[in-house]
């Protein structure tokens, strides 16, 4: 009785007793309401609820403030026809009622509220690094574009925005969605122009977010911005292996790496790091830096070496970025000699996770290496009898005293 036979038996048994309910189901379809994909940025089901703000505002001048702040560079930055009428830039004119809010995430996390004349009503920090940036800055009454240069400039100066931590997540929420999206697009563009002058090669990711109670609650409960909360929810929805709780611990940079490498259409550039911006939904400038990580080619090399297989011998090679229990890894999958292999490689250190280093016979099983061959005969099966389930998850315990990489994790505090 070999494995194949058992599998076939199991399959036959279940198929034989599977009920036939197609007719019943078909009759229920016409009454079943289908949920359409919403227009806003999302990759999987997320409950959407519009929260009424109840603050009326002048239709003509609404320009939903987008992303956070920029520096104090003085007015007149807005060019072209999109600039609405507004009073002189500067803090002397009183600010109006809330029209929109913008959050901005690098490591520091800042939230800004804007009135319908694009002036800053208030600005608050969401985390400690944000506090540091906003220290001694009084941005209320300033034009939003001007104010954002100040904040981004502050992040550059204080070393939060670097060539390795180069991602700027800009998120807009507004009562008027159309205006909000327009402003998000425009401001991401402005920010990009501004940062092009610096040498770091920043990546700007802009997004418009619908007002959503669940996202707000999640953000508040975890002490993060709504922009980050939104990305986390979408990542978790797009990939069953990512849980919201594990993602909350990641830095903005790490989230952006996962975001731009997330599963999308099969023929899109999943591994390139620059996602295609969706029409009217989000903006993307630059490339999210993966300097901290080894390349996918290196990960593949490590995995192949570990198993003792040459690249030309392997078939169906797949290398994917993943996040396993808060650790960013490469999953390297390939076939060799009719068997499947699956190896997890730490994306920062290049270590094979859980496996002992050194040359491995292609037929030996190691933790973290998947070998699957149903044609094994009985004697062979016994090699895989192990009683060490407890060991399996230990590989994700990052207890390495000698591991410099732990320090990297501590830095990215949000």
């Amino acid at each position: 009785m070999n494995d194949k036979k058992i599998n076939e038996w199991l399959k036959a048994q279940i198929e034989a007793e599977t009920p036939d309910m197609l007719d019943t189901l078909m009759s229920e379809l016409p009454k079943t309401e289908q949920v359409k994909a919403s227009d806003s940025v999302q990759t999987a089901p997320i409950p959407m609820k519009r929260k009424k703000r109840g603050i009326p505002f002048a239709a003509a001048a609404v320009a939903a403030a987008a992303c956070l702040v920029l520096g104090l560079i003085g007015g007149g930055i807005w060019g072209g026809s999109r600039r609405p009428e507004q009073s002189a830039a500067g803090g002397s004119t009183p600010v109006g009622a809330l029209a929109a809010s913008v959050t901005f995430d690098v490591n520091p996390s800042v939230k800004m509220k804007i009135d319908d004349n694009n002036r800053v009503i208030s600005c608050e920090s969401i985390n400690d690094e944000g506090k540091e940036i906003l220290k001694e800055m009084d941005l209320s009454g300033s034009d939003v574009v001007v104010a954002s240069y100040a904040v981004v400039g502050g992040m550059l100066t204080n070393g939060y925005l670097t060539d390795a931590t180069n991602s700027v997540l800009v998120s807009v929420t507004a009562e008027d969605k159309a205006k909000g999206e327009e402003v998000e697009k425009y401001l991401a563009q402005e920010l990009n122009t501004y940062l092009e002058k610096s040498a770091i090669g920043a990546a700007i990711i802009g997004q418009y977010i619908d007002e959503d109670d669940t996202v707000e609650a999640f953000a508040e409960a975890n002490g993060i911005s709504e922009g980050k909360a939104w990305i986390i929810k979408q990542l978790a929805a797009s990939n069953p292996r990512l849980t919201e709780d594990s993602l909350v611990k990641l830095s903005t940079q790490e989230l952006m790496v996962l975001w731009t490498n997330r599963r999308t259409e099969k023929n899109s550039q999943a591994a390139s790091g620059s996602a295609q911006p969706k029409k009217n939904q989000s903006s993307m400038y630059g490339t999210v830096s993966t300097k901290k990580y080894i390349s996918s080619d290196e990960a593949l090399k490590k995995a192949l070496t570990y198993v003792g297989v040459k690249k030309h011998q392997a078939r169906d090679i797949e290398v994917d970025f993943e996040c396993e229990k808060g650790v960013i890894i490469y999953e390297v999958d390939f076939d060799y000699n009719g068997r499947e292999y699956g190896i997890d490689v730490d994306a920062v250190s290049g270590k094979i996770i859980g496996g002992a280093p050194g040359k491995a016979s292609t037929l030996k099983q190691k933790p973290g290496v998947e070998v699957d061959d149903d044609d094994d005969d009985d004697d062979w099966d016994d090699r895989y009898e192990r009683d060490d389930d407890d060991d399996d998850d230990d590989r994700y315990e990052r207890d390495d005293d000698d591991d410099d990489d732990d320090d990297d994790w501590d830095d990215d505090d949000d």
């Binding site: 009785m1 494995d3 036979k5 058992i6 599998n7 076939e8 038996w9 199991l10 399959k11 048994q13 279940i14 198929e15 034989a16 007793e17 599977t18 009920p19 036939d20 309910m21 197609l22 019943t24 189901l25 078909m26 229920e28 379809l29 079943t32 309401e33 289908q34 949920v35 359409k36 994909a37 999302q42 999987a44 089901p45 069953p240 292996r241 599963r263 999308t264 259409e265 099969k266 396993e324 999953e331 999958d333 499947e340 699956g342 997890d344 099983q365 933790p367 973290g368 998947e370 070998v371 699957d372 099966d381 895989y384 009898e385 192990r386 060490d388 389930d389 399996d392 998850d393 590989r395």
Partner: protein, 183 residues
């Protein structure tokens, strides 16, 4: 059993009931088997199966093409099955239910007797496995998913899946041999 063609998802989202039928035929045993491996009784497995297909039809518009429509469907099954478990059916009820259904089936022709026997055999084989082993071995036998994909669906590490899979086969082999089943 044919594979779950991703294009059916988009068509289902448009309300195409033929596409739904295609999905059903391609996946029914996987869905039923997986549900059964979690809830461990046939009445609940049928309920979960029914609800899962309705839920799939409802939410087809929100599926983004990622090449994994089966995983999408089975995730729905998993959630519904665990909800069912949590709704607090007592073990005694489950066993009563199984006995009733077995008795009901036995009332029919002798062909049914064989079916009852097979079901009992399946139950015994699965009973020797733990929660995760049951799910792993059923997914592997029914869906053709790779261990990596199974690990992802069940939110387990790949080593765990592999070692549990091997242990499941060994246990089942043992159990079947004890019952005098030769394959």
């Amino acid at each position: 059993m044919t594979t779950f063609n991703e294009q059916w998802m988009a068509r289902m989202a448009q309300g195409d009931s033929q596409a739904f039928a295609s999905v059903y035929e391609a996946t029914k045993s996987s869905v039923y088997g997986f549900a059964l491996s979690i809830v461990q009784n046939r009445a609940d497995a049928e309920d979960v199966m029914h609800d899962a297909y309705i839920k799939l039809y409802q939410s087809a518009g929100q599926y983004t093409a990622q090449g994994k429509p089966m995983a999408y469907l089975l995730t729905i099954v998993k959630r519904l099955a665990y909800n069912k478990l949590r709704s607090g059916r007592h073990l005694a009820d489950i066993e009563d239910d199984q006995r009733e259904r077995a008795a009901a089936r036995a009332d029919h022709t002798t062909g049914m007797e064989q079916q009852v026997e097979n079901q009992a055999l399946l139950d015994m084989a699965l009973k020797v496995l733990d929660e995760e082993e049951r799910q792993i071995v059923v997914l592997h036998a029914l869906t053709g998913m790779k261990h990596r994909e199974i690990a992802e669906l069940l939110e387990l590490g790949i080593s765990t899946v592999l070692s549990k899979y091997r242990r499941s086969l060994a246990k089942m082999k043992n159990e079947l041999e004890l019952k005098g089943v030769s394959l």
